[in-house]
């Protein structure tokens, strides 16, 4: 069982590293997602593997799994969602602003820049996602 977990962590790490070394944003995001799986599983496994003994107090169990790594990983999962969402917006924004989704700055931008005169500050969002009362 330990072998399976360790090899899965190793596989996901390797895939994550390979993908985040690519040159476009989308594979990098996927690579980071894979790496978060690997890291979460890694942290979880530091509590050692126990089958069928969740850390929920009961009269039948003598031994429990270690709850602390689980608590840490639980919050880490949610935080990594927040991080992924932020990175997605950043990459989407970069793509929409520049017309390409490369992650390296020194490469020439292959798409022409949007004419600044057509996009004015008054072109703000009409509908805020904040709720109906925010609408003008």
């Amino acid at each position: 069982m330990e072998l399976l977990v360790a090899s899965a962590v190793g596989m996901m790490t390797a895939a994550g590293i390979y993908l985040f070394l690519r040159l476009r944003t989308f594979p990098v995001i996927l690579g980071l997602a894979l790496l978060s799986y690997a890291v979460n599983l890694f942290l979880f496994a530091t509590g050692r593997l126990i089958v069928g003994a969740p850390a929920i107090l009961s009269l039948h169990l003598k031994e429990y799994t270690d709850p602390l790594p689980q608590a840490l990983v639980l919050t880490a999962i949610v935080i990594s969602f927040g991080m992924t969402a932020l990175v997605v917006i950043l990459s989407l924004g970069a793509y929409l602003e520049t017309g390409n989704d490369r992650i390296d700055m020194h490469e020439p931008l292959d798409a022409p820049q949007v004419d600044a005169t057509t996009a004015t500050p008054s072109d703000g969002p009409e509908h805020h996602p904040a709720g109906p009362e925010e609408q003008s």
Binding site: E2, Y18, L19, I56, Q70, L74, T84, A85, D101, H127
Partner: protein
């Protein structure tokens, strides 16, 4: 008054000048002065005890683990310095009130001044060296602000940077020296360190510690070879120069040498380094001062020279020299502050400080002339002014000291220094005030108002009073301070007339030689200008350029704007560090037995490995790779289920759902394929890095799992206390909401911030060039025939209440069974998202009555208030409480305050997830997505109502109409 309060008063005062600046210049200066005066009063209340030889001590434990305590103590030496800092500070505040131009921001000036004053008082009152170092660095920082106060002047900015660089680097050296000293003595309290003289002198680290501390002190007190920053700091407004370079900043180094005098004095290393450097600085700076035309530059070099004099005296290591040093510290502070102020007055009234353009001001500015002459003659060391007495004492000490066995060399060099000192002092008087009045001054000179000359006037009166009655005026404080420096009771005899002594003859030579030099100034200056001199600033600038060039080279080599490069460097560094640790250590076999293998996990493992391999192989097809990542996430959730982590499994699977949705939404606007552009060698390189990383991480976790815990884990405590102390059976949840509640509180705050950042980014995005691109968006995928299928709409409507019920259920059971705020929040978010998917985001959004930002704020506040609630029980933040309640008809319930905290978590998660996805769909709206008029693509009611024959496209772009629901209509699209 407690010592800590005396040191704190200027800092507290620093809050006010900026606030008071609008109330007028007098109020602003008055408030500033009030805080200084209050601190001075507090200090003076301690005067009787200190002068009687007692030490006032105040100890505040701060970080005792590293020996850092806010310990203050006040003895004669500290008292003298604090008196100078606060007393002259008060005069400077008065002077600056009238000196500063209405254009200068007075509030800003006084704020910096008080910050600096507080830092200085802190230095001289600190008993703990670490605390002293904190204040020491604060003086460097606040003096940077003061010197660069006139931000529009390039010299001001450069001078401030140079002062900060030199004194800051000296400060770093001193930190090292102080730490060594504290390490040898076994305590970081100065009063303790001073008791360990013999241990410190016997230690092999004595010399390094001394050299490091001296580097710091010399840099601060502008001793050779660090003297060059001080003249460049003259770009500051004159009140700053008068303050920093008479009584405070530059005296900090002297203070430190005097403070540590008992452990260093008498050692030959100390004698040769300190007295030689001091004497060298004194003569060299005095010579340069003679040829400076800028009055402030002249005074700056004279300051360096006098600091050298005092350093020389401290280096001699005898009690008589220490007494002379203390006395000259007082005298120099008084006459130098007065001289700087007169230079400021001349500059203020004539608009020039160039000695070549001045002269003959005696009749035009008689008051200024009188003050400047008194202070100038004191600096020259001419009786009956105060500078004469301490200079005689210095010459006396020099005349009786052997240097490398030579009995007269110190006396000769000291006389030479005194001679130059007389020369530049006389020149300051003669070339500015004497001679015929000119008619080409840049402005018509006249004496300033009383406000401007009051401060130097008071100081000039002190110069005379101390000169005439040294014992009555200064004897008491010199005794107290010199006793504190030497650590033994000294009884100095200060007198104007010492009888016919060698020192008197040396003085006579110095005065007559100095007068001669002034008379011969013009030919000497031509000679001076003809000789080449090393320009310290050019050397300094070259060094700084080299340093910044090197730093930029390294930074740009690592961070050249290519993220793939950073990530490669980062991964390789991590792998190499891991490899180094692995190969330099020893590996023993694991001790734990393998957990037996069963078929179900094996199947999941195969799925995971296959999906991972496939992601790498097919990552160019983005949609496919997203699906594969979803499979991997699902398999990870299954692993959590199997390995006794139900909470994790629930969280992982619900996060998986929202993440995939988010990425799908984003992918709508991104290219659907990744071009194949990596070269083959690059792929190989990345592959090798990836495999090395994977092997390392996999091997590490395998090794970890095969071993037992090295220490008892703290989970045992948590398991034991979850039920009795926190009232929960699900220990994972109890840890999240209770034991590590602080952590969770931070995490939900971060999550909320991330979501709001996403919202803000979207908002900014839609105002920039992306807006135009989106408006002209042409979908690159074919749209589905029915985007809002009837079956999906009906199914999600039915599911909605059930899903919400499940969410609430998961939230309520969380404390005792798998579940909790995080999972419940995600489940509710998914329930809402299903509606959004079924009928379109905008349609659903119009029907939803709460604001996501408010939800996030509410969540964080709910968690915070639950935590604060513990205060009312007299417990620390986030201490939870629980109790059992009986609710009629429902039975016994257990309620814990942690539920309130978990509610905060729940609300934040719902708000954050929804806000992130809502922001993304906002982009979709901009790209032509419309509000559909009906909840589904085929609306039976609509079909019945509109029996018109022409087929109208359903929900075609541009057909924004008010939905028939109860929400307000959408704003019209601005095209």
């Amino acid at each position: 008054m407690p010592l800590a309060l005396i040191a704190a008063l200027p800092f507290l005062g620093a809050l006010f000048p900026a606030l008071m600046a609008r109330a007028g210049r007098n109020t602003c200066a008055g408030v500033t002065g009030a805080f200084t005066a209050l601190a001075l009063l507090g200090l003076l209340l301690h005067a009787p005890a200190v002068l009687a030889g007692h030490e006032i001590v105040q100890r505040i434990t701060w970080v005792p683990q590293i020996g850092l305590n806010a310990n203050f103590f006040l003895d004669g030496l500290g008292f003298l310095f604090a008196l100078l800092i606060l007393g002259i500070g008060l005069l400077i505040i008065l002077y600056a009130r009238f000196y500063l131009d209405p254009k200068d921001s007075m509030g800003e000036f006084y704020t910096y001044l008080l910050l600096f004053q507080g830092a200085m008082v802190g230095i001289v009152l600190s008993d703990n060296v670490l605390l002293l170092l904190v204040f020491w660095e604060l003086t460097s920082l606040s003096s940077f602000l003061l010197i660069g106060f006139w931000k529009h002047l390039a010299e001001g900015r450069q001078g401030a940077r140079m002062a900060l660089a030199v004194t800051g680097m000296g400060g770093l050296a001193m930190i090292a020296g102080m730490l060594i000293l504290g390490h040898i003595a076994g305590s970081y309290d100065i009063s303790e360190i001073l008791k360990h003289r013999t241990e410190i002198q016997a230690s092999p680290l004595f010399l390094p510690a001394m050299l490091l501390i001296l580097t710091g002190a010399f840099a601060k007190s502008a001793q050779f070879p660090f003297h060059f920053w001080l003249p460049h700091a003259m770009a500051a407004p004159t009140p700053v120069s008068a303050y920093l370079h008479s009584a405070t900043m530059v005296k900090a180094g002297l203070f430190l040498m005097a403070r540590l005098w008992p452990i260093f004095a008498g050692r030959p290393e100390w004698f040769y380094i300190v007295s030689t450097v001091g004497l060298l600085t004194m003569v060299m700076a005095a010579k340069i001062a003679l040829f400076k035309d800028d009055l402030k530059a002249l005074l700056a070099y004279s300051t360096v020279s006098h600091l050298g004099l005092i350093t020389f005296l401290l280096g001699l290591g005898t009690k008589a020299a220490a007494v002379a040093a203390v006395f000259h510290i007082i005298n120099h502070a008084i006459f130098k502050a007065a001289l700087f102020m007169t230079a400021g007055i001349v500059d203020h009234e004539t608009h020039t400080r160039d000695a070549k353009r001045l002269g003959g001001l005696m009749t035009l500015m008689p008051i200024t002339f009188t003050i400047a002459t008194i202070a100038g003659l004191a600096m020259a060391g001419i009786p009956p002014f105060n500078g004469f007495i301490s200079k005689e004492m210095m010459l006396e000490a020099a005349a009786h000291t052997y240097w490398l066995g030579n009995p007269w060399i110190l006396g000769v060099v000291a006389t030479l220094g005194a001679l130059f000192s007389v020369a530049y002092s006389l020149r300051y008087i003669a070339h500015v005030f004497l001679g015929p009045a000119r008619d080409d001054y840049p402005a018509k000179p006249h004496d300033p108002g009383f406000g401007l000359w009051a401060s130097p006037g008071i100081l000039a009166a002190l110069v005379i009073a101390i000169g005439l009655f040294p014992m009555a005026m200064a004897g008491w404080i010199v005794t107290a301070a010199a006793s504190a420096v030497t650590g033994t009771a000294v009884h100095p005899e200060l007198a104007l007339w010492h009888g016919i002594s060698p020192a008197l003859w040396m003085s006579v030579i110095a005065v007559s030689g100095g007068a001669l030099l002034v008379a011969l100034h013009a030919p000497l200056e031509r000679l001076w200008l003809a000789t080449p001199k090393p320009e310290a600033k050019r050397i300094f600038d070259a060094l700084m350029r080299a340093a910044t060039g090197a730093a930029r080279g390294v930074t740009e080599g690592l961070h050249n704007g290519a993220i793939s490069r950073y990530l490669t460097i980062f991964s390789v560094t991590c792998i190499l560090a891991g490899a180094y640790a692995y190969f330099s250590g020893t590996v023993s076999a694991g001790t734990r037995a393998l957990t037996p293998l069963e078929p179900v996990p094996l199947i999941a493992w195969f799925a995971l490995v296959a999906a991972t391999a496939a992601v790498v192989m097919y990552h160019h097809n983005r949609l496919l790779s997203l699906v594969l990542v979803g499979i991997i996430g699902l398999m990870v959730s299954i692993a959590f289920v199997y390995l006794s982590a139900p909470d994790l499994a629930l969280t992982q699977i619900s996060v998986e759902v929202v993440t995939v949705m988010l990425l799908l939404l984003a992918l709508n606007f991104l290219p659907k394929t990744t071009p194949k552009e990596s070269s083959s060698p690059r792929k190989w390189r990345d592959g090798i890095i990836a495999i090395a990383g994977g092997l390392g991480v996999g091997g590490l976790i395998y090794a970890l799992m095969m071993r037992n815990f090295a220490f008892q884990t703290i989970s045992a405590y948590q398991m034991a206390h979850a039920k009795p102390d926190a009232g929960g059976e699900n220990v994972v949840n109890v840890i999240i909401v209770d034991f590590r509640g602080y952590d969770t509180f931070g995490e939900i705050t971060v999550l909320g911030i991330a979501a709001i950042a996403i919202y803000a980014l979207t908002d900014a995005l839609l105002r920039g060039p992306a807006n135009a691109r989106l408006r002209g968006w042409v979908p690159d995928l074919k749209r589905a025939g029915d985007r809002h299928p009837l079956m999906l709409v009906v199914a999600t409507r039915v599911m909605m209440p059930i899903a919400v019920l499940v969410g609430i259920f998961i939230y309520l059971r969380g404390h005792n069974d798998p579940g909790g705020g995080f999972v419940a929040g995600l489940v509710i978010a998914i329930a809402l998202l299903m509606q959004y998917m079924a009928s379109g985001f905008a349609w659903a959004h119009l029907r939803q009555r709460f604001n996501y930002q408010a939800l996030i704020g509410l969540g964080v506040l709910a968690a915070a208030f639950t935590g604060i609630g513990a205060f009312f029980n007299g417990r620390p933040f986030l201490t939870s409480d629980f109790g059992h309640f009986y609710i009629p008809y429902l039975g016994h319930f257990e309620l814990a305050t942690a539920m309130g905290f978990d509610l905060g978590v729940f609300l934040t998660v719902v708000g954050a997830v929804m806000l992130a996805l809502a922001s993304l769909s906002l982009i979709a709206r901009r790209a032509g997505e419309t509000v559909n008029r009906a909840p589904m693509s085929i609306d039976p009611r609509e079909d019945a109502a509109e029996a018109s024959p022409e087929a109208r496209p359903e929900n075609a772009p541009g057909t924004d109409v008010a939905p028939d629901g109860d929400g307000p209509p959408p704003a019209p699209e601005v095209r």
